[in-house]
């Protein structure tokens, strides 16, 4: 088919941050489907709660303190996360490197406390369905936490190599910060479901 040039793209930039970049949309897509998974797991839990009048099924209440500490750590981590995102937009290497190290540490810290959360549930997964759902919800979020921390650490290493001096990499840092927001955000309802819902009944 014959062609006639109608538009010149030569002056366009080679990368963009946030919603301009396809990776951002891909990240959003994965958040949507993972969020749906969280929502369904929470829905399954609530379905069982409404089914059994004596929910908690005579199990002891969970100790909320490890979970509360994780929550505080996660919420606090949002501040450096957003600073990091801003520096990534400016493609400023120094602050981004510092920010990535900080975020790696702030990812590992809740994981350490998470280790103490499982025994603090005060029930095993195979005791009854209440125990099963608690372990499932906590396990689901822990999987997300581990994957994101792993991703953050690899990206941190990458930013200390010569590969870091690239618009794409700064875009990756931005998307990684975006995903961390999601990990924190999904934790809040799960925290309430695990530790505070059983205290209502």
């Amino acid at each position: 088919m014959n062609q006639s040039p109608a538009l010149d793209l030569a002056g366009l930039p080679t990368f963009g941050h946030g919603p301009r970049s396809p990776t951002w949309w891909g990240t959003l897509g994965f958040m949507a489907l993972e969020g749906m998974g969280f929502a369904l797991a929470a829905g399954a839990y609530l379905y069982l709660v409404t089914l059994w009048p004596n929910w908690r099924l005579s199990a002891p209440v969970p100790n909320h303190w490890p979970g509360t500490i994780v929550t505080l750590l996660l919420v606090v981590s949002l501040v450096p996360n957003h600073l990091l995102n801003r520096y990534a937009k400016q493609c400023a290497m120094g602050p981004v490197r510092i920010g990535m190290v900080v975020m790696s540490l702030l990812g590992l810290a809740p994981l350490v406390v998470r280790w103490f959360e499982f025994p603090a549930l005060n029930i095993y997964w195979d005791t009854n369905a209440y125990g099963s759902m608690l372990w499932v919800l906590l396990g689901l979020h822990t999987t997300h936490l581990i994957t994101d921390v792993g991703d953050t650490i690899v990206l941190t290493v990458l930013m200390f190599t010569h590969h870091g001096y690239s618009g794409r990499r700064f875009g990756d840092v931005g998307d990684n910060a975006f995903y961390w927001d999601f990990v924190v955000l999904t934790w809040i309802p799960i925290y309430l479901l695990i530790y505070w819902l059983p205290r209502l009944g």
Partner: protein
């Protein structure tokens, strides 16, 4: 539209300033396509975008057309296997008390038939068609996240192999394609059969979720300049809506299968009513996926029909906006119907009424689509070729399936015919009528684009009539035998019930239907080897996939088209307006804005890589191992992490660095 409209000041200038700042290595500029003569342009692009030669090269391919071709062939093979399952079942049922297969094998046969057709054929083949066509139709050079796309194929193949190797070892799932607990639970489902079901689901869902995300981002961000939302082809709209349905429905079945395997493997009690769980929770979770699943298969098929009818009616689709809104409405409503698969569990009256009403409601947008197509044909000058015959077959068959669907939406009737052959007849009319016939139409329609050759029109007509007669002979009498009370999933029946003759007739129809696929396979092979050369646009259709050669080159388009109309090739008969200025020495494509498709970024597309295959092997091995021990997840994490790092770590290509 002029180029000034597309690069309006407000969109581009401020951003260009920010992206030039910061600690980034300057772009090493390379040759651009501006003003380049055609021969050099093709040489450059062919070298940049080629799939490397050799076996490693083939396994590293990230070309969406290569991946889609593999998907299509693999899904067709699974169709044949699933079809053979059905033939064996029909031979067994052709008379009372036949002894070809026993009850245990029969259970595996119908489970494998359902699982194969739903998870290994129907969903992958509609997505594969999208992987091939969507990037071409939106005028881009590759799908978004090409390596993720390659990964999805390998995961899909390993899931399919896993299921069929299990079948060969007589450890295939035998609990029906929806594997209800408690039958599939730890108490009544000994051995590994139900675990095979659960993990096989996980493989195929990971694969289709990955494709869905890649499709959404391709449609949102990689459309040719000027292809604003109102100019997106209907087929692409259908795939977009389908991908959203996948994103929100598939997690439900992954959660279901994960819960099931946890109950079976580590002793959780999620579905165990004795310890505070609930068996019906399984059904709710499964059908929250299972009903949208029907539309995941059906919506792309309507997109195919919406692409085929205008091409042969010789006019743009009547009611473009109505068709798009219907697609979106069906996508939403598909999430409100799941309980109509569970009418037999004893629902509260209000619940039953709600789901009856919503089941009938979804007939409205589907009806709108059918009337729009009829109006397009009515007002056009239709040319009747094989694709159109299959579209007519779709109308006829799907409408019958829709009518029995409205019947089944009523709770009293549903209770009467629950688990009988009436239901089997209904969903085969809906699935084969609503999806397989449009797929066959699509095969005849797009085959010339994929292979560069035409399929035989004469064989196509034989194929159509054989398929129509065979299908209706096999499935129409099932309505009757179902009303007589014949239950589904029984491996035989006594002679005294008098079901022998009608079942013999059904089996004869099934064999005829199977033969129609043998003829189709012959036509495919014959067309690929001996068919008449097709040229770029054999049907004189109007969408962008016909603007490039058949088969398309690795880079799809020598220059990115500029879109001015919903049927761009009909609007620009003289010369296609194109964009220039992209680099030709690296894989560069155009990223545009979501709503208006203003050109925004010259993005690099990923180069071929073997790592998605390695990652798929690591993930697949972990899933396989996990049916034996939960520690598989721990041991599998290390190889998965290594392969993912290998996948994402930059290797020094300009595509990675700039």
């Amino acid at each position: 539209m002029s180029s000034a409209d597309l690069t309006s000041e407000r969109d581009l200038t401020p951003e260009r300033e920010t992206s030039a700042k910061g600690d980034i290595a300057p772009e090493r500029d390379g040759p651009r396509d501006t003003g380049m003569d055609d021969a050099s342009l093709h040489r450059w692009l062919a070298r940049t975008w080629r799939t490397p030669p050799g076996i490693i090269g083939a396994l590293s391919s990230v070309d969406h057309k290569v991946i889609a071709r593999r998907y299509l062939i693999t899904a067709f093979l699974f169709l044949c296997l699933g079809g053979l399952n059905a033939v064996v079942m029909r031979v067994q049922l052709s008379g009372p008390r036949r002894g070809l297969v026993g009850p245990d094998l029969y259970n595996q046969l119908f489970t494998m038939h359902g699982v194969t057709m739903m998870f290994l054929f129907a969903v992958p083949i509609v997505q594969a068609t999208g992987i091939y066509l969507v990037p071409l139709m939106v005028g881009t050079r590759n799908i978004a996240f090409p390596r993720l796309n390659a990964f999805s194929y390998w995961i899909y193949v390993s899931g399919g192999l896993f299921a069929w190797v299990s079948f060969a070892l007589a450890m295939a799932p035998d609990v029906g394609w929806f594997a209800y607990v408690p039958l599939s639970g730890p108490e009544y489902g000994p051995g590994k059969r139900a675990d095979v079901w659960a993990q096989m689901i996980t493989y195929t869902e990971v694969s289709s979720l990955a494709v869905a995300v890649a499709t959404i981002v391709t449609v949102f961000k990689q459309r040719a300049p000027g292809m604003s939302l109102d100019k997106i082809p209907l087929y692409v709209w259908a795939l977009l809506v389908t991908s959203f349905v996948v994103v929100f429905a598939m997690p439900a079945v992954m959660i279901t299968s994960t819960f099931l395997i946890l109950d079976r493997l580590v002793g959780t009690h999620i579905f165990n009513p004795a310890e505070g769980g609930d068996a019906l929770l399984f059904q709710h979770l499964f059908w929250f996926f299972g009903h949208p699943e029907v539309y995941i298969i059906f919506l792309p098929a309507t997109g195919m029909v919406s692409a085929i009818i205008p091409a042969f009616a010789r006019r743009p689709a009547f009611g473009h906006l109505g068709l798009v809104l219907s697609l979106i409405a069906v996508g939403f409503l598909s999430f409100g119907l799941w309980v109509h698969h569970m009418f037999a569990i004893g629902l509260p009256k209000l619940g039953a009424s709600f789901f009856t009403a919503s089941s009938m409601l979804i007939a409205i947008p589907n009806g709108v689509q059918i009337f729009c197509w009829l109006a397009t044909l009515w007002d056009g000058r239709p040319v009747i070729r094989t694709p159109v015959l299959f579209v007519f077959g779709f109308f006829f068959t799907f409408v019958i399936g829709g009518l029995t669907g409205v019947m089944l939406a009523s709770v009293p009737l549903d209770l009467q015919v629950h688990d009988t052959y009436f239901v089997v007849a209904h969903f085969h009319y809906v699935l084969i009528g609503g999806s397989v016939f449009p797929l066959l139409a699509a095969a005849y329609f797009w085959f010339p684009k994929i292979t560069g050759r035409m399929m035989s029109e004469r064989l196509g007509r034989w194929h159509f009539w054989l398929a129509m007669i065979g299908f209706n002979a096999a499935f129409f009498p099932m309505h009757i035998v179902g009303l007589w009370g014949m239950p589904r999933r029984v491996y035989t029946y006594p002679a005294e019930l008098g079901w022998g003759n009608i079942n013999l007739f059904i089996s004869a129809g099934a064999v005829l239907f199977f033969l129609s696929f043998v003829l189709f396979a012959f036509n495919l092979v014959h067309g690929a080897l001996r068919g008449a050369p097709a040229g770029d646009n054999p049907w004189d259709a109007g969408t962008l996939e016909w603007a490039t050669s058949s088969p398309p080159p690795s880079y799809n388009f020598a220059r990115i088209p500029v879109v001015t109309n919903v049927e761009p090739l009909w609007a620009e008969r003289g010369a296609l307006p194109v964009a220039t200025g992209l680099r030709v020495d690296v894989r560069e494509l155009l990223v545009s804005t979501v709503a208006e498709a203003y050109p925004d970024i010259r993005e690099k597309s990923a180069t071929p890589s073997i790592w998605p295959l390695f990652a798929a092997i690591a993930v697949g091995a972990t899933f396989l191992y996990s049916i034996f021990t939960p520690w598989a997840i721990v041991w599998g994490a290390a190889p998965i992490a290594v392969t993912l790092v290998g996948w994402f770590w930059p290797k020094g290509d300009p595509e990675d660095e700039e």
